[in-house]
């Protein structure tokens, strides 16, 4: 195995392009190092992207936040403005692992590790975040929900990598939230995770919603029918019940040690209701 730490995106792409499938991109390493050490993966080349400045910075461009793929959870949690704009996203990231893990773990790694239970992903999908992806043909943008194709699988080519995440300008009267269920208080993997973002018009009618559910299918689900149940309503109890029913209808989980199919489906609905009420409360606070 070789280790390279390029300082530009072009160098990184060239390195990945030369080794193709035999290379791995290293951001925070909290998943990759475990896989390496256990022999799960045996890459010929590790491309550490953390020396590329763009990958390590949080910028505000025309009111939109651009967050580098390898910015750490701890750094996101300390960024008060980002937290105010996207509290659900930052909360989700902060749920990942321990203080030690927060010192390294990144949005890019959490997404591209492609675990169905990744905490940051439902929140990113609900927020409508886009990935900026670099590859041999230049850069392209892709919605976060289009990156993972199955457990451990992404739609990225072997010589592409996620450089940054671009968040939309938060609308007035909008809010996001994320909750996960685990049977303990800390240091666990989501049994179910739900991220919701919603916007209200001046009369308090829901004008836009995005509902994303994790750990209930091979990839994080963006549940259009749940969003449709909220849009055009005052987000009253009846609308929330309809949204919950659509969440449960979309669930296609596995039975494992963390929960059965029936349990996960039930919990997904309960969480969706709670998350929706938090997002609503945030949306009703004037931005």
């Amino acid at each position: 195995m070789q280790y390279e730490a390029p300082t530009t995106i072009d160098q990184a792409v060239a390195l990945l392009n030369n080794t193709g499938n035999a290379s791995r991109v290293l951001a925070g390493g909290t998943d990759l190092l475990v896989q390496l050490r256990s022999g799960m993966i045996e890459p010929e080349l590790i491309v550490d992207i953390k020396k590329i400045p763009e990958v390590r910075t949080i910028l505000k461009e025309d009111g939109k936040y651009r967050v580098g793929a390898a910015v750490t959870g701890a750094e996101l949690g300390e960024h008060e403005d980002l937290k105010a704009a996207w509290p659900g996203v930052v909360e989700a990231v902060e749920l990942i692992g321990s203080t030690q893990i927060q010192g390294r773990a990144s949005l890019g790694g959490n997404l591209c590790n492609a675990s169905p239970a990744a905490d940051a992903v439902p929140a990113l999908v609900a927020a409508g975040a886009m990935c900026m992806i670099a590859g041999p043909n230049g850069r392209r943008e892709l919605p976060v929900e289009a990156v993972c194709t199955g457990p451990g699988q992404t739609s990225l080519a072997p010589d592409e990598f996620v450089v940054s995440f671009l968040f939309p300008i938060p609308k007035p009267r909008s809010g996001d939230a994320y909750l996960r269920f685990i049977p303990r208080t800390e240091m666990d993997i989501a049994v179910v995770g739900v991220g919701i973002h919603l916007s209200l018009d001046a009369d308090g009618v829901c004008s836009d919603a995005r509902v994303a559910v994790g750990a209930v299918a091979p990839t994080v689900l963006l549940v259009g029918e749940s969003a449709a149940a909220l849009v055009g309503t005052m987000v009253d109890d009846a609308a929330i019940e309809k949204m919950i029913a659509a969440v449960r209808g979309s669930c296609d989980p596995i039975d494992d040690k963390r929960g059965t199919v029936v349990y996960r489906t039930q919990v997904a609905g309960v969480l969706a209701g709670r998350v929706c009420r938090i997002a609503l409360q945030r949306a009703r606070r004037e931005r």
Binding site: Y3, A5, V34, L36, R37, D48, S98, T99, Q100
Partner: protein
């Protein structure tokens, strides 16, 4: 395969080393630099026995390639006492008998110091959440938490 040359600062000393690409920072600290205070417990980032500070952040040395440490400032348990003068946390751990076998202790001390450096007056809940990534199979945690809280009080006075 060629070795990577890495320049770092460890416990205020400039340290250069050569490492294999597969070596973790913990491997180099323990096996090559003979700084064996940092322990290997799980080797998967769950137990915190290998906790060190890297550029001011608490991290698991087992989850870092040694090559990633290029240009960074690292603090390990070996740098905590000033000669034979123990850091107040170390003394409180002794006074509270907040250790038995001692394998987790360096990690707890590094993690607790990182907490007190940023929050000199943590609540018990804050201490417990901050230290959730450090596992101790002997003490049941109460003595550790009390040692940290008492150190905080001592250092504030």
């Amino acid at each position: 395969m060629s070795k990577t040359h890495v320049s770092t600062t460890i416990n205020d000393d400039a340290v250069e080393f050569l490492c294999e690409p597969e070596q973790t920072l913990l491997d180099v600290l323990r096996d090559d630099l003979r700084l064996t205070g940092s322990k290997e417990g799980c080797a998967s980032g769950d137990c915190g026995a290998c906790s060190v500070m890297m550029d001011g952040r608490l991290v698991c040395a087992c989850l870092l390639l040694a090559a990633e440490a290029e240009g960074s400032v690292i603090e390990t348990i070996e740098g905590m006492a000033n000669g034979s003068d123990l850091h107040p946390l170390q003394q409180q751990f002794l006074d509270h008998a907040a250790l038995q076998c001692g394998v987790c202790t360096p990690g707890f001390l590094i993690a607790a110091k990182a907490l007190l450096d940023r929050n000199p007056d943590p609540t018990e809940t804050e201490v417990r959440f901050w230290l959730a990534g450090n596992l101790c199979r002997c003490t049941g945690y109460d003595k550790i938490v009390r040692a940290v809280l008492d150190t905080a009080a001592e250092m504030r006075n």
